[in-house]
């Protein structure tokens, strides 16, 4: 899932300062699961903004709405009948959703209430951690399911580096060394000989280096 963090309230309140009618948008997908932009979080932010503005003597009208998805046109189109009743859209969806709503309603400003952070997993209740950087050329078969691009701070393909100490990364003693995890996994599966295979230089053209990416399936097009 896409994991995000809510922006500091101070930053949000400054962004919406000129507006008195706000459409506060949430999303029922990733940001709901990582508890940053679902129905509950939308209600909490709406309440916070209302309290702040009421205190300042400048009441604000907020419509709370959580779309099923903000990254698919059929849901984004649901905003059409009433989006123009609002001065601005404040979105708690991920960066994709924020941009997509803006692309559909060119006369509206869509402000971000969250910082989209990474693609990750729910490691435990209340803890989300990064797993994938979308490099476009998966190597998880070679490293037995542990991503060297994401889990190694340097994205090394023939690690670990000299900064690996007691299984921890030199970046932070709380971060496990990605290559230690990979070696441990090789041992666990009795496949330590795989560690001897030298990985050639990775082709990063499938990653961000090639600019914004797209995927096309002609058979699905209407």
């Amino acid at each position: 899932m896409i994991v995000a963090n809510r922006k500091p309230f101070e930053e949000i309140i400054k962004m919406v300062e000129p507006y008195s009618k706000i459409l506060l948008l949430g999303c029922n997908e990733c940001v709901t699961v990582c508890a940053v932009g679902g129905t509950k979080e939308v209600a909490v932010l709406a309440s916070e903004i209302s309290l702040f503005r009421q205190k300042e003597g400048r009441p604000v009208e907020i419509k709370e709405l959580t779309l099923e998805r903000n990254c698919d046109p059929e849901y984004v189109e649901n905003l059409k009948p009433f989006i123009n009743d609002y001065d601005v859209v404040l979105s708690m969806a991920c960066g994709c959703g924020i941009q997509f709503v803006g692309e559909h309603y060119r006369n509206k400003i869509v402000l971000p209430a969250v910082n989209t952070t990474f693609d990750g997993v729910t490691e435990e209740q209340g803890l989300w951690t990064e797993r994938c950087q979308g490099c476009g050329n998966c190597v998880l078969d070679k490293t037995l399911g542990i991503c060297p691009v994401t889990r190694c701070a340097k994205s090394l393909f023939n690690g670990p580096c000299g900064g690996s100490q007691d299984g921890k990364c030199e970046v932070d003693k709380d971060i496990p060394c990605g290559w230690q995890l990979i070696v441990d996994r090789y041992k666990e599966m009795n496949m330590l000989e795989k560690y001897l295979e030298i990985q050639p230089v990775k082709d990063w053209s499938t990653s961000r280096d090639g600019g914004p990416r797209k995927r096309i399936r002609e058979d699905l097009k209407i």
Binding site: V44, I49, L51, F52, Q54, E56, E61
Partner: protein
């Protein structure tokens, strides 16, 4: 026991303080409450094991949100007591009322209107 506590304290009954969410507390302030006090069972005595512990964490989080929005985190507090401590409840209700009275009215309440629940325009 015929104990009395301040008449301005309104009681909202919940099956367990674990049922209380952040939004419930914020809504109370939006609707004009000057303070919110959560009263849960003693720690370790929760019928649902961790309801009161989770409520305490939510109260702490809500304090932060109330500080951010300028209402003041000190307006929300949590107490733990057993169901047999009526005396203590009355004492806490008085203590809380005095504390909130000293803080003054909820700053989000519309100036001069004095109407509970009418201080906000929200749809």
């Amino acid at each position: 026991m015929r104990l009395s506590y301040p008449a301005n304290v309104k009681i909202v009954k919940v099956p367990c303080t674990g049922r209380v969410d952040i939004i419930h507390i914020l809504k109370a302030f939006e609707n004009g409450a000057d303070g919110v006090c959560l009263v849960g069972c003693l720690e370790g005595d929760c019928h649902f094991l961790t309801g009161n512990l989770r409520a305490r964490k939510r109260v702490e989080y809500t304090k932060k949100l109330l500080d951010e929005s300028g209402i003041g985190g000190e307006r929300v507090t949590m107490y733990n007591m057993s169901a047999a401590e009526g005396q203590r409840f009355a004492e806490v209700a008085r203590e809380m009322t005095e504390k909130i009275r000293a803080l003054g009215p909820n700053p989000a309440k519309r100036q001069g209107s004095g109407n509970r629940g009418q201080g906000l325009v929200k749809s």
